[in-house]
C-alpha cells in the first residue's frame, strides 16, 4: 500500500494514532505550511518549516488525499474500500500506519472542523 518517502524516510512511524490521541472519528487536514503537488498520479509534499520534501506513490497519494478531504478517518476508509479490492482490516492497518506517519512528520494535522 502507500508508502511515505522523504529525506528521512524512516520506516513506519512508531508514533501511531493511539499515541496522538486520535480516533477514527478524527478529521485530518493539510496544514497551511505543507504544499502538495500531484505529478502523474504520485505526489510531492513540501514541509515549509522543516524545508523537507516528501514523496508519496500513487496509492499513498490516494490515501493522503482521502485522509485530507474526508470528514473523518473512518469516512476515508470507507471511500478507499469502494475504490480498492482490499481486505478491510488490511486497509485499516495500512491507513492507520500511513496516517500516523503523516501526522508525525507534520504532513497532516487534526482538524477542528
Amino acid at each position: 500500500m502507500g508508502t511515505l518517502t522523504a529525506t528521512d524516510p524512516t520506516s513506519t512511524s512508531s508514533l501511531g494514532m493511539r499515541d496522538m490521541n486520535l480516533s477514527f472519528e478524527t478529521k485530518l487536514s493539510t496544514p497551511p505550511y505543507v504544499l502538495v503537488r500531484q505529478v502523474e498520479g504520485e505526489s510531492v509534499l513540501l514541509h515549509l518549516v522543516q524545508e523537507t520534501y516528501y514523496g508519496l506513490d500513487d496509492v499513498g497519494t490516494r490515501m493522503y488525499l482521502a485522509l485530507a478531504a474526508a470528514d473523518s478517518i473512518e469516512q476515508a476508509h470507507g471511500q478507499l474500500l469502494e475504490e480498492y479490492d482490499v481486505d478491510p482490516e488490511t486497509l485499516r492497518a495500512d491507513l492507520v500506519r500511513l496516517a500516523g506517519n503523516l501526522l508525525e512528520q507534520g504532513l497532516l494535522q487534526p482538524s477542528e472542523e
Binding site: Y33, R37, V39, E40, G41, L48, E51
Partner: protein, 379 residues
C-alpha cells in the same frame, strides 16, 4: 562580447544603482576597514570600497569573471588591496573577520538572488561583532496590478496553440512569477509593504500579508512585487515603479486565476508565503467589496505548482531507487579517479578519450569534457 560581461555592462551603466552603492559605501566603510564583497562580478563594489579607504577587500566570485576583475583592480591601482577568491562565499574561508559585508544579490523581489543565504552565512562566519552589512534591511512591496497583456500571456495556454490542446500548461503558467517592468499606471491600488527583513537573519519560511484599497474602477489581473533595500542609514535602493530614481531592474508579476472587476474602495488582500532557500512564493489573494465586505474573489497560487516535475524526477528520489552511472557519468568518474595529485592533465585527457572513445567525436571534445570536470572539482 561575453554575455556575462554584457550583463555586467548593464549593471555598471545603471547609474542610480552605482550611485546608491557609492554613497552607501562612503557612509559605512571607514579607512582601514576589512571588506567582504559577495558575488563581486567585475569587482565594482570592492573598487568603491578601496576608493573610500578600505584597507583590505575580499572579493568572492564563483565565475571566471574573477580573472577579469583582477585585471580591472590592477588597472585601477588597487590590486594590492583586493584579494580575489574564486568560489561561493558559503564554501570558502577567510583569514580573519571583516568590518563590512557588501552584496547586490537582492534579485527582483528582494530575496530571489540569494542575499539571505549568503548574508546569514557571512554574518555567522565572517562579520565582526557590530559589523555592517550592505544592505542592512530589505523591504518587499506589492500592489494590485491591472494589465490585460501580462495576464493574457499567462492565460494563452487556455486556447489551442499551433492547433493543439495545450491547456495542461496553464496551471503551471498561472503559478509562475514573471519578471516584467511594471509602470505606476498599471497599479489599481496604493502599494503596500509586505515585509521588512534583516538579510542576516536565519532563513526559514516567511509569512506576510498586506491589504490594499482599489483606488478606482479597474480590473485586477495580478499582484506586482518589488524591493526597497536599505544600503546604509541614508541610502535606499529600489526597483519600485513609483520611484523616479529606481534602478534598472525588473519587477515580478504574480497573476491571479481570473480577472476581477474592481470598484473604488474594494479591498485586495495579499498573503504571501516565501521560502527563500527554494525561491518559492505562494500568493493568496482575496477581494472584498468595499461597501458591504462581501468576498468577491479568492485565489491561491504558488510557484510550487509552477515547477516542472515529472514522474521520472520522482522515481529518482525514492529510497529504493538504485542509481546507475550513465556512460558520461562513468567518464566523469574516470576523470575524478585520475585527479590523484600525481597524474598530469594531458595524461588524464588521453586516458579518458581512450577509455570512453565512443562518447567523443574526437580527442578535442574529450579534452573539453575533462577541462569542465577538472575546473569544477580540482585545485
Amino acid at each position: 562580447m561575453s554575455r556575462i560581461v554584457d550583463e555586467h555592462r548593464q549593471y555598471l551603466t545603471d547609474l542610480p544603482r552605482v550611485d546608491a552603492f557609492r554613497r552607501a559605501i562612503a557612509e559605512v566603510v571607514r579607512p582601514g576597514d576589512v571588506v567582504l564583497d559577495l558575488g563581486s562580478g567585475t569587482g565594482i563594489l570592492g573598487l568603491l570600497a578601496c576608493q573610500m579607504g578600505a584597507g583590505r577587500v575580499y572579493s568572492v566570485e564563483s565565475t571566471s569573471l574573477v580573472g577579469l576583475s583582477r585585471q580591472i583592480a590592477s588597472d585601477n591601482g588597487v590590486a594590492d588591496r583586493i584579494t580575489f577568491i574564486r568560489g561561493f562565499s558559503t564554501t570558502i574561508d577567510l583569514p580573519g573577520l571583516v568590518d563590512v559585508v557588501l552584496a547586490d544579490q537582492i534579485g527582483r523581489f528582494g530575496f530571489d538572488a540569494g542575499v539571505f543565504q549568503y548574508f546569514a552565512d557571512a554574518r555567522k562566519r565572517f562579520l565582526k561583532p557590530g559589523g555592517t552589512t550592505v544592505p542592512s534591511r530589505i523591504e518587499l512591496w506589492a500592489a494590485a496590478v491591472e494589465s490585460e497583456e501580462l495576464w493574457t500571456n499567462a492565460d494563452l495556454w487556455s486556447a489551442p496553440m499551433a492547433g493543439f490542446d495545450m491547456r495542461a500548461a496553464r496551471g503551471i503558467a498561472m503559478n509562475t512569477g514573471y519578471p516584467v517592468t511594471l509602470t505606476s499606471d498599471q497599479f489599481v491600488s496604493e502599494p503596500v509593504a509586505l515585509a521588512s527583513v534583516d538579510p542576516t537573519v536565519p532563513l526559514g519560511t516567511w509569512r506576510m500579508e498586506g491589504s490594499m484599497v482599489a483606488s478606482g474602477a479597474g480590473v485586477l489581473h495580478g499582484v506586482g512585487g518589488w524591493f526597497a533595500a536599505q544600503l546604509s542609514p541614508s541610502v535606499t535602493m529600489t526597483n519600485s515603479p513609483l520611484d523616479p530614481d529606481r534602478i534598472q531592474r525588473r519587477n515580478v508579476f504574480f497573476p491571479v486565476e481570473r480577472p476581477v472587476q474592481l470598484v473604488e474602495g474594494d479591498r485586495v488582500t495579499v498573503a504571501m508565503q516565501i521560502l527563500p532557500s527554494e525561491i518559492l512564493v505562494s500568493w493568496k489573494v482575496q477581494v472584498h467589496d468595499g461597501k458591504n465586505g462581501d468576498e468577491k474573489a479568492r485565489f491561491s497560487h504558488s510557484t510550487w505548482k509552477g515547477m516542472l516535475i515529472s514522474a521520472e524526477d520522482l522515481r529518482r528520489t525514492r529510497p529504493d531507487f538504485v542509481p546507475k552511472l550513465t556512460p558520461r557519468g562513468e567518464a566523469r568518474q574516470t576523470v575524478l579517479d585520475l585527479c590523484d595529485g600525481v597524474t598530469p592533465l594531458e595524461v588524464i585527457q588521453d586516458e579518458v578519450f581512450k577509455r570512453h572513445e565512443s562518447l567523443f567525436e574526437n580527442q578535442h571534445k574529450a579534452e573539453l569534457f575533462v577541462s569542465e570536470v577538472v575546473t569544477r572539482y580540482s585545485e
